[in-house]
Symmetry: D2
């Protein structure tokens, strides 16, 4: 019930502000007996880390995760996995000149409205820094999903007005990390990088789209009515900062199609029930149908810009402000591992729940 806990059987509870002593969390319900690759978790954190390339913020944060419990001799014990990432990179709370000014389209104002006051440094709890905790948990969830050969790959499909011009099937998904923008089409990637460089030069920011594909989810995953796989994914993605749209399969384009175009015919293909198209994005009635799960997440342009903007201060006085500090001109390259992490948490949780819903899964002697 706590609003900083995500999931049902497999849960992540997080804490931490960007400029406090640490961020961290507790992963509960993780099944016992899995050999964990903790170096891989750290590697995922590197993919999210600030300062990883010249198109991200140049802020340096070490983001070294320390595991505190729930692992014994390299294996999950079934008890809660506590972890912590010390905050080290913040320039000693140097934002202080701005703390009474509400940054436009940030959460400063609404935190004050809700809680009466707030930790003003670096966005406090509303800072995207908290997403590092999700990457830790998602990386472990992925290691559970590996048992079922489920893979999750997100990539940047759009930056501003530049989009990949190929279908997902035409892409080589192993190429996602071959460039700094995380677009698996190198030509488009270069265009995206140029656009981000230009936008940064202008002191401005741009939005983008991340596409995610999940392979090998068996048919039957997701719980009607309210824990549909689709609904949980939509929920998960909208807990991320800057998200403006979630689309499943055909997404907004479904509106313009006739049922006869949009329906996915079932066919027996090599003895398996498959669909010959995938407008559904792998989900019928909220439950996986065995096809690839496909969704898109649209992110707005980062709100911190190096241009003068109208705003108010905490007294409600009109004023002007210009963003300072080292911020991302476009959030999507660093958001790729975060989208993957949240998807992994959703799928792992529903994979754990699913066998409990059918007596055939129980082996009572």
């Amino acid at each position: 019930m706590a609003s900083n806990t995500f999931g049902k059987l497999l849960t992540l509870t997080t804490y931490g502000e960007s400029h406090g002593p640490a961020i961290g969390g507790v992963i509960d319900g993780f099944p016992a007996g899995l050999e964990l690759d903790l170096a891989q978790v750290q590697k995922e954190l590197e993919r999210r880390r600030p300062g990883q390339s010249h198109i991200t913020t140049t802020r340096k944060e070490e983001d070294v995760v320390e595991f505190l419990s729930g692992i014994f001799e390299g294996k999950s014990t079934g008890t809660p996995i506590g972890f912590m990432i010390r905050n080290t990179g913040q320039r000693s709370r140097d934002y202080s000149n701005n703390v009474n000014v509400y940054r436009p389209s940030h959460a400063d104002y609404v935190y004050d409205a809700k809680f009466g006051f707030r930790d003003p440094f670096g966005g406090g709890r509303s800072s995207a820094r908290e997403t590092a905790c999700r990457v830790v948990a998602g990386a472990l969830a992925q290691q559970f999903l590996n048992l079922a050969s489920i893979s999750i790959t997100a990539f940047v499909s759009t930056v501003g007005n530049i989009s990949i011009n190929k279908s997902v099937n035409e892409l080589d998904l192993s190429e996602v990390d071959s460039n700094i923008v995380r677009c698996p089409d190198n030509y488009t990637a270069n265009e995206m990088i140029s656009l981000i460089e230009q936008v940064r030069k202008e002191g401005d920011t741009t939005g983008g789209v991340i596409t995610c594909i999940i392979k090998n989810v068996p048919a039957g995953i997701g719980e009607p009515l309210f824990d549909k796989l689709s609904a949980k994914l939509a929920h998960a993605m909208f807990t991320l900062p800057a998200v403006k749209a979630f689309e499943l399969g055909s997404g907004t384009s479904a509106v313009f199609q006739r049922g006869s175009e949009h329906n996915d015919p079932f066919r027996n293909i090599n003895g398996k029930i498959r669909t010959t198209t995938n407008k559904a994005g792998g989900i019928n009635g909220g439950i996986s149908n065995g096809e690839d799960i496909l969704f898109k997440v649209s992110f707005k342009p980062v709100s911190t810009i190096h241009k003068a903007q109208e705003t108010v201060d905490s007294e409600g006085q009109n004023t002007m402000m210009t963003g300072k500090g080292r911020h991302d001109p476009c959030v999507v390259p660093r958001a790729v591992p975060i989208v993957e992490a949240m998807a992994a948490l959703v799928v792992a949780d529903l994979m754990l729940i699913n066998p409990t819903r059918n007596i055939n899964h129980f082996n009572f002697k």
Copy 2:
């Protein structure tokens, strides 16, 4: 934790298949002491009811709600509100010739994959009939929201390739129910109706978009990190059948904007902190900022079409099928009250939680 329960402090738990004895539910956590207008609840059910106009299914269902508990002398008692809607309209399980054929893009196959078998009549639990329960609960939640003058209005903004050409502010939202398609622009409404009539004649179906606007939500509603107002709305909408996309405020168009265009400047307007634009859709960092909350929900074309389609049966044998029965050619006119209902449940739940998060809301003597 049950997957047929929605909400945290204010919860709706539902049950029921389309062709069983009844559908119904339990509303728990509803505050005591509210005078309830039960006729208004029935009125909302009429807006969702099949057979309400010539552009919906002609199936007749009475949909009379019976309240079983939690109300005494017209007022909520604070105890659970049980309610039930008897199933009466179903043509005595007459779908039987088709029950072994998986209807394309329906949930027949995935229910079998998940549960091993299913109630095949009328879609069983996956039937949109269950949404009647949400309308009941949402109508009561709205009566709670009336105390805070919060209004929720959804309307059809797109059917197939026909869209309203005006901004939300240019529309007269009191006109939504003035036509059978529930589009508050009469000229566009007529075009939409013509399109739906044509699509039905072709034995086909079309998708559509519902826009929803929520007024008077105070700043501060929504719980970071995982119960953000935006995330709960996205989740709620994706629990509805046929939903393919959820967009908040600027939605997918945010991607193409620069931060300097997309940011909403804060201004002091008549002593209040307001924004002069509303790309945010009334939500910053997942928390309401006091502006109108705006979102769009895209629905796919209804999957049941009166055209021959390839599919398989439950043995995995390829076959052909043609949809029968009385189905909607377009789901959005009847989905308007359902979108409103789910939005009301989300906002009411978060309105109940919000005062618990700040000691200033407590009056301890």
Copy 3:
């Protein structure tokens, strides 16, 4: 999160007042594919039914359960099982002369204090009538537990100052229902019945103890820290009306023992790890150890007595009242099936959760 929902994976949500139209509930998370014996459910209701013998209330209530969903051709479908019991036995709200007087040790006053007002007839939501819903759910949970050969037997071990003088192992548990007080020792049963008859004649009431034994729960059931099997059982029993104490295994007598007396030695018995004594009541560290689970529940004397008592009315004026109506002189004979039902819900829920906590239980291909 709703306070009228019990359980995590297997949940029961209930509604209903004693004198409203109906009581009922929703069982969610019940695994698909189980052949259900609905006549058995009704039979359990008969064990709880008022008017079943001359030592219970003579009030007549039919208590016929109607199942509304979640069952198809006799098998659970995995979707929510809705059910309802119409209220028929109440003498048309004939308590009205008393409704403004707070009955001592009843919940009248606290409901008013909490909710501002209440449904005053027959105790409203605080009536023990709601426990019929638990019996329905528990009877279905028991049918799931039958798959694992888990049996749950409760019986009356004490009424007032009369107690069974034998250990659980000396009793023939199949004899519980052989007498109307549900004590499996016929000599003691007769003494208990005499005591209840006498107490009733005096217009008074008496307390009692129910002992419960659960057999064949495998080792490993229960979730540390907060969903320990012991804690869930204690919680479940304390949701029942009139409960004053819950004791596990040795219970309050553990206090007087030395560790060297109280510890249960482990031994290898026929190739199995067993304990040679069972002070633990089958639970170590909150988790089942494979031995019989044993607990006791103490119930206070029924609060409604036919004697004059001091009390106040809802205006806070001192007054006197004498209980009227047909009430039980002792609650324990009818509470036996309710204790079993709640135990079944707890054990079934934890049996569903347990396999999710260990990767060895998963069969991924």
Copy 4:
């Protein structure tokens, strides 16, 4: 839903093994704006700390809590409060000779049965060391309760066969910490201390009882049906190690009383509705009635004894073992602050929920 999370609106999620790097937790839902006295939290930890007196274990653990988030300039911010206690006192995992032997009445065996293996050092997750986290959270919850003048006092009322011979009202509760056994009657305290010294000399252990009294809880706290204040307290106490019984008010003695003796008459006392006796322990129908809340918790003798005992090893071979290490001869002196902490968490959670259940508590403009 996670089993290491306790509470609904105010939640505590904990992690940590006794011999891992750290234990810790996350407190979520704590209201914003409260000035926190963190030194007081540390002080409560000292009351639980090993080595505090000669009748506790002589093990030295520093138990210094570090707060990591959710507090800004001394006040709660409404965001999650993360905290951590480094494990420092453990003698470098020196238990190793015993790790394959199942200690009688400990959780070693059931952890292996459940999870397939376990962290064997110092009891791993089943160690009472985790209760330090509850003390931290409970101490903060108490600071919230201070706003409502709610006080919680637990004390040792029984050790083995030595009990306080006075009623709660005859005791000076401010004297609880005046002696090392935490019994507010000095004569009895000395007897208890002697008994514990003797038991330790024998290499044995003894059980005990803690009584808890909660003052100034207003009438109306607790949520029917399943979140009754009584049920939540019973649940909370049974999550603690070594608990065997929970009794509310009259407890097991209620069984022997007639209704006419046991009922608590209501009277108007100085304009307030009060009861003239308190068999109820301050709770009617699961909801507080404004009187003192009274309950008792029975603890078994500590399972680790310095005497030879029969047991088995993890291969199921019969063997003998003798407990080693520095353990408590009686758990109750150190359990006093833990009982208080869990009670504080329960009451604070239900105090937060209560105002949401009644429209009169809302101040909508």
